[in-house]
């Protein structure tokens, strides 16, 4: 593996006024690969993503190390973070219905990323935007450029989102549930576009999801989070080697076509899992 | 906190809810101020004969326009009457306005709104159109017109204010009614053969009461200002009644030399209307579920 893009060790996050840490002792290293983060709601997976961008107002973030390429994220000021966000690290949000500004034209919103980080004219930014819209398989970029978000479908909205977040050519993209809000029929299409772009450009990807199957098929490695901790890290092909009872429970609860027609296993949750350190 | 342990179990639901609301309000300095001022207003009105140092109507032409002090806390007016005592008795008038307006406006708004919302159809269309027509006027202007037609007096001012302040309540009651019109317990009542009238009175109106009560509180500041404005224009309470707005109107002529004639009743109006605004603002926060969860 080449130089790691991101090194996280012993990351803890506490929201203002919360009695306990929402994320505790999370450590992982990311290369130019696709890392999945899986967990149920409230397990802290989205919080980790937002902490990397330092977009948790008021929350206390502590870690032994939080290194992104040559930068120590913990030590960066807000002004320095502004140069990182969007340019070197960006995030694809869940639902284009809410994550796109409803009363600005799509093209203008996408171009804003480029204009923010490069000293170019509006015309140049527009050319770049159209190119990127074409890259996410939008057939008629000129037309879509002039549309408002409510005039495009969810699948297209999410492709616009991808275009917006990859436009400035970042090194790391965090995708926070990128397909959960989409129709099942377009999920795969959107994922394939994202996957293709990430591979071609050598971008590191952190895919946050509650969908174990999706992550297993699209990522190289998977972190399994439970109650703010990473309970297990697995290679995508080695799920049969899962050790932790929580992971095994998750796997057992997956329905399979042609599997036995017994009721699915009910997920077991034990308080001690929140305490013990993963092996 | 000895009482906290057993009180939730003993108090009826609405009472403990009320207690929670009070506790919440007292925690914020602004709404606590509002509550305190209103409490003082009520106490002053009840205990007026004991608080007042002089008779509010007794004139003393040897002692006119005295500045504050010398046995007169806020000085005397152009007829030698004690301003402090007049303010104290004026609290009774203010309270009477508030009480009568609420008593008239609450039921009218509730019945119109609940009927429109529950019955729907043309009834809804007609009632809401009437409401819109009343809403098309600023309340002071419409009250002016009513008082002009009815003749100036305190009671007519109260009637005029009531006639102009029911539409927002009706709007609110209608919106509330629409949200639970389709609820199962309403359907159950209907299946048991209850008449629409009975359903509106027994099942719908009680559900609307809390939000209507809040809205009334919020409106009180406007009611007080409108009443004072009518008094100032000589269309509300007539002399020698110690109504605060009317006191300002008569004091106006002596304002340059005797500022206290105007300043004292004005501060009283300002305090009471500010108190209702602050309390209403606090109530809105207290009953906003998002705010409650955050604690």
């Amino acid at each position: 593996m080449q130089d790691p893009i991101l090194e996280v060790s012993n990351l803890s996050i506490r929201y203002p006024g919360a009695p306990a840490d929402s994320v505790r002792g999370v450590s992982f290293v990311l290369g130019r690969e696709r890392l999945g983060v899986v967990g149920e709601s409230g397990s802290g997976k989205s919080t980790v993503g937002r902490a990397l961008l330092k977009l948790l107002p008021g929350a206390r973030i502590t870690a032994d190390q939080l290194r992104f390429e040559d930068l120590d994220l913990l030590a960066l000021s807000e002004a320095e973070m502004l140069k990182v966000r969007g340019r070197r690290m960006s995030m694809i949000l869940q639902d284009p219905k809410f994550s796109l500004n409803p009363i600005q034209r799509v093209g203008r919103q996408v171009a804003e990323t480029y204009l923010r980080h490069f000293p170019v004219s509006r015309a140049e930014a527009k050319a770049k935007t159209l190119e990127m819209l074409a890259a996410v398989n939008i057939r008629d970029p000129e037309r879509v450029h002039e549309l408002y978000p409510h005039e495009i479908s969810g699948g297209m909205g999410q492709r616009v989102m991808i275009a917006m977040m990859l436009l400035a050519d970042p090194d790391l993209v965090i995708a926070d549930e990128p397909t959960s809000a989409l129709d099942v029929t377009v999920r795969l299409q959107v994922l394939n576009i994202l996957d293709g772009l990430v591979r071609d450009r050598g971008i590191g990807l952190i895919m946050i999801s509650h969908d174990l199957n999706l992550v297993r098929n699209f990522c190289d490695r998977v972190l399994i989070m439970y109650a703010g901790r990473v309970v297990e890290t697995l290679k995508a092909g080695e799920f049969h080697k899962a050790q932790h009872p929580y992971t095994r429970g998750l796997l057992a609860a997956q329905p399979r076509i042609g599997g036995p027609r017994k009721p699915l296993a009910v997920l077991d949750r034990r308080p001690e899992w929140t305490e013990e350190q993963p092996a | 906190m000895t009482d906290a342990a057993y009180s939730p179990a003993r108090l009826p639901g609405w009472l403990s809810a009320l207690r929670n609301i009070f506790a919440y309000l007292l925690r914020s300095p602004t709404s606590a101020f509002g509550l305190a001022v209103i409490a003082i207003l009520v106490l002053t009105a009840i205990l007026a004969p004991w608080i007042a140092t002089h008779d509010p109507f007794t004139q003393n032409l040897d002692n006119v326009l005295q500045p504050p002090g010398n046995g007169h806390l806020f000085g005397t007016d152009e007829l030698g009457r004690d301003i402090f005592s007049r303010l104290v008795y004026g609290a009774r008038i203010t309270l009477r306005i508030i009480f009568l307006v609420s008593v008239v406006v609450g039921p009218i708004g509730l019945i119109v709104g609940a009927t429109a919302g529950y019955v729907g159809g043309w009834m809804d269309a007609v009632l809401m159109r009437v409401t819109d027509i009343f809403l098309a006027f600023p309340s002071l202007i419409l009250s002016l017109a009513f008082v002009a037609a009815l003749g100036p007096s305190l009671n007519n001012a109260i009637i005029a204010i009531a006639l102009t302040s029911w539409p927002p309540i009706a709007r609110l009651a209608r919106a509330e009614t629409m949200t639970f019109r389709k609820a199962d317990y309403i359907a159950a009542a209907r299946l048991q053969g209850a008449s629409p009238m009975r359903i509106i009175l027994k099942s719908i109106i009680p559900m609307c009461l809390p939000s209507v009560a809040i809205r009334l509180t919020l409106n009180m500041a406007t009611v007080i200002l409108t009443a004072a404005g009518l008094g100032f224009l000589g269309l509300g309470a007539q002399p020698p009644e110690p109504e605060w707005g009317a006191m300002i109107a008569t004091g106006r002529r002596y304002m340059i030399d005797s500022w206290w004639l105007v300043a004292c009743p004005g501060v009283a109006i300002l305090c009471v209307s500010l108190a209702f605004n602050l309390l209403g603002d606090g109530l809105r926060d207290a009953l906003d579920p998002k705010q409650m969860n955050r604690r």
Partner: protein, 340 residues
């Protein structure tokens, strides 16, 4: 095709609803006029008229006809612009009102500029600093403006800033010795004095306008502040605020480009509605400042019981309100892309 038809149907529906509201308005002013305990015939013929004269005027006024016929006649009069004569001035009421209206419009326009200039920034400030001391300070400041009896504040302000400090002009639209100096072409003193090249009159007018307009604007700003704050909070809680931050925009840029620019249309509608509400404050403040406008005309006629003039004033305020409501509705449709 169907889009155009839908838009047409919506416009037609709105036109009908405005017409019905206007009809209701007429009915309301008609009935308030009839409620009056004073005898309109007696007011015209005097106390010692013969019964014959009385009866003649009675039927001349149409009072012997059924109520609905009287209403139809009233409606016909209003629709043909005949609002009757003012008892006080002997002129047609509508002419009187057109004469005094510019003074009020001048005052209200200045006031709304001040009110919006105060309310919008304060509302944004409060929303951005929600639940911090700035938010609380803004809330108390604006509730204070909303709670003050404006006729009283006007008197106190005159006492302090005019009689005491001498910073501003006193009552009226200009100093006494300037009255009649500039010909009235538009009725708007600021414009007329500029047209006549009379700078001293212009500055005198500004000097007199500034205090009542500030007070009116301050009282109107409470509502504008509150609405701005709540619109901004709605925006700030949206997911696209996060998107903007992820793109690398600073918090300030996000607030300005994505939150504030999204609420501009809503703000325009709020300001339009506040403009109507200003008329209410104008009635009181004009009395205090001896401002020769609509409000003073209304109160003067109230005192002498000239119901023709009063009801026409009320009707006009109602029409202005409906027009402003309609205007804000149309603005919203025109400028919000989601309604297209």
């Amino acid at each position: 095709m169907s889009k155009g038809r839908r838009r047409f149907r919506r416009a037609a529906g709105q036109a009908v609803s405005v017409a019905v509201t206007l009809l209701g308005l007429l009915m309301l002013t008609f009935f308030i006029g009839r409620m009056m305990p004073a005898d309109p015939v007696r007011a015209i013929v005097g106390e010692d008229a013969t019964p014959e004269t009385y009866d003649m005027v009675y039927s001349q006024l149409g009072l012997d006809r059924p109520l609905w016929a009287q209403f139809l006649r009233y409606m016909g009069d209003v629709l043909t612009g005949n609002f009757g004569q003012s008892i006080r001035t002997g002129q047609p009421v509508i002419q009187d009102i057109l004469h005094v209206m510019p003074a009020t419009i001048e005052l209200a326009t200045f006031a709304i500029v001040i009110g919006a200039g105060l309310g919008v920034p304060l509302g944004v400030l409060a929303a951005v600093n929600k639940d911090r001391w700035i938010d609380h300070a803004v809330r108390v400041f604006s509730l204070f403006g909303h709670s003050m009896p404006i006729f009283w504040t006007g008197m106190i302000a005159l006492l302090i800033f005019y009689a005491g400090l001498g910073w501003v002009g006193g009552s009226g639209r200009m100093d006494y010795f300037y009255i009649g100096m500039v010909p009235s072409r538009t009725g708007f003193l600021l414009i007329d004095s500029l047209l006549a090249g009379e700078w001293r009159v212009f500055f005198s007018a500004i000097n007199h306008l500034i205090l009542p307009a500030t007070l009116l604007g301050y009282s109107a700003s409470a509502y504008i502040t509150r609405m701005t704050r709540s619109f901004m909070l709605d925006q700030l809680n949206q997911e696209y605020m996060t998107t903007a931050r992820v793109k690398g925009l600073s918090r300030g840029q996000t607030i300005w480009r994505h939150a504030f620019s999204n609420i501009r249309v809503q703000l325009v509608t709020i300001v339009a509605l506040s403009y109507g509400a200003l008329l209410e404050g104008a009635v009181l403040i004009e009395t205090v400042f001896a401002w020769p406008g609509f409000g003073q005309y209304l109160t003067n006629n109230l005192v002498i019981g000239d119901m023709n003039a009063v009801m026409t004033c009320v009707l006009i305020v109602g029409v202005i309100f409906i027009a402003l409501n309609l205007l804000s509705d149309i603005l919203y449709r025109l400028f919000d892309p989601r309604t297209k």
